[in-house]
Symmetry: C2
Subunit: 299 residues, 2 copies
């Protein structure tokens, strides 16, 4: 387990691949539409390959960090995909946030080839990826999890085995629906207060010492909404996708999902208004624009 | 400022009045439909009076900890109310969560009598009231706030002056709408996970180390939903009232309040189903009953 493939060296993937290199792994990455991270990783010692099949033929573990279900499916099942090049025993560690239903379906196909798929979604954002402190949840066969644990420990902390394939993704979608709901609720609370003439910096200080306190309020809102800095972190378009996946899951289960459904509508609206490339916390702009208030502290 | 009146010695008020006694204040309380807390406080050294007017005539500060707008209005303006007995200079510290619009209206009437009303809502629940660690937000004239600060310091920590009358209540309603939205979002996330076969204790552990972490998740859900212990704390019926007040405020301001409105509907439904005396976190039962899952850990 010393040769690791890494496919998807974007916002999250690049620092994860860099941490694997620092930990002494041989890392083979795929060319990417954005050449800059590929060049930086090659300069740091990574090798470069042309197709997922080529990567799979040279490695024991292939990590994926990809934007959506379709891309993950293409990278695994496509003509030059991982299954076309991988040997028996290969473990695919998919850190992408995709549908647990998709992941379960892919896991069966992968298993028929004598390989293993693990769903290993992340929490902690780009900051956590850079620091190597990501929380990682893992679903799939436990033996495969134990084999790749040293690899996961090079990129994260709080590494938890959840259960069978797809279960880690269910927990991840739960995490993100809570975060998205918090972002909306905080935006409403800040807007109510600002409309009543109260500085949002003061509101933030009080709520951070009260029962409304949360990671989103204390860390995220302080660094973004209060400063008017909505560059991503975690893009609104990705949060829209994740909350949509949670809603799909609820529908498939027959679970009522009132707040998930509403939050999905609001993120759909924000996406339609061109806010997809803001950080997901930028949902607050819907409230600023509808009321004319400025949610930055000290304004 | 050594003689303090206290009206409303219920779940929150009783431990607050007890902490005032411990801090050396003379405390005069009102008889209450539930005699037990009155008897306990008298045994601890409190004096007892028959009407708010009688309390006001003997004290410099009267603290209120009452369930709703109508009761606060009656206690202040009623035939034997505070205004009927109080002297000029009396300060009323209303720790009740009521409408900021009501508090502003009452503050004007109180000021016409040469007295002062402060809105001083609390955060921290019964645990915080007992420990004397409540967060207290204060709205109203700043000079009056400075005069009663030693009284507030006997019952809480994190005491913050917010601004003019009603502003502290606006922040408090913001706090509670966030908390209520979190309770619903967490219930949906736990139900999705449990339906997928994942133990809620494990989900809770993972989310508590991830970006979804919050006081509600880490402290409240752990002590209640996961143990199946929904005795209040903070009653669902009171949360229903508070989210309704936030919705009224949003309507009066012309602020969109999507999540506040939805959460209010869910709490209205839970109230109608007879869950008003559960803790507010008991909104989770709506999901358990609709899906047949048991959200307790280890089940």
């Amino acid at each position: 387990m010393k040769r690791i493939g890494f496919i998807g060296v974007g916002t999250m993937g690049e620092p994860m691949a860099a941490n694997l290199l620092k930990a002494g792994f041989t890392v083979i990455i795929l060319g990417h539409r954005n050449p800059a991270p590929v060049e930086r990783l090659v300069a740091a010692g990574a090798q470069k390959a042309q197709t997922p099949a080529e990567i799979a033929s040279q490695t024991d573990v292939v990590m994926l960090c990809l934007p959506n279900d379709a891309v993950v499916e293409e990278v695994i099942l496509g003509a030059n995909g991982i299954l076309a090049g991988g040997r028996e025993g290969l473990i695919i560690v998919d850190t992408s946030t995709i549908s647990p239903l998709t992941s379960q379906r892919l896991a069966k196909i992968v298993a028929e080839k004598g390989m293993t798929l693990l769903d290993a979604p992340l929490s902690g954002g780009q900051t956590g990826a850079i620091a190597g402190t990501l929380a990682i949840m893992v679903g799939g066969p436990r033996e495969a999890f134990e084999k790749v644990r040293p690899v996961l420990e090079a990129v994260g902390k709080n590494i938890t085995y959840v259960g069978e394939n797809g279960t880690a993704l269910v927990v991840k979608l739960g995490n993100n629906l809570i975060v998205a709901a918090e972002a909306v609720a905080i935006a409403e609370a800040l807007t109510l207060a600002k409309k009543a003439g109260i500085d949002t910096g003061l509101v933030h200080k009080i709520l951070s010492a009260a029962t409304a306190r949360s990671w989103i309020l204390e860390e995220k809102v302080a660094a973004s909404v209060l400063k008017g800095d909505l560059k991503p972190g975690f893009k609104l378009s990705l949060m829209h996708k994740d909350v949509g996946l949670a809603l799909d899951l609820a529908k498939a289960q027959g679970t009522p999902a009132f707040i998930t459904a509403l939050v999905h509508q609001l993120y759909t609206q924000a996406l339609g208004l061109g806010k997809g490339d803001l950080d997901s916390i930028g949902i607050s702009q819907l409230y600023e624009e509808a009321t004319g208030v400025d949610l930055r502290a000290g304004n």
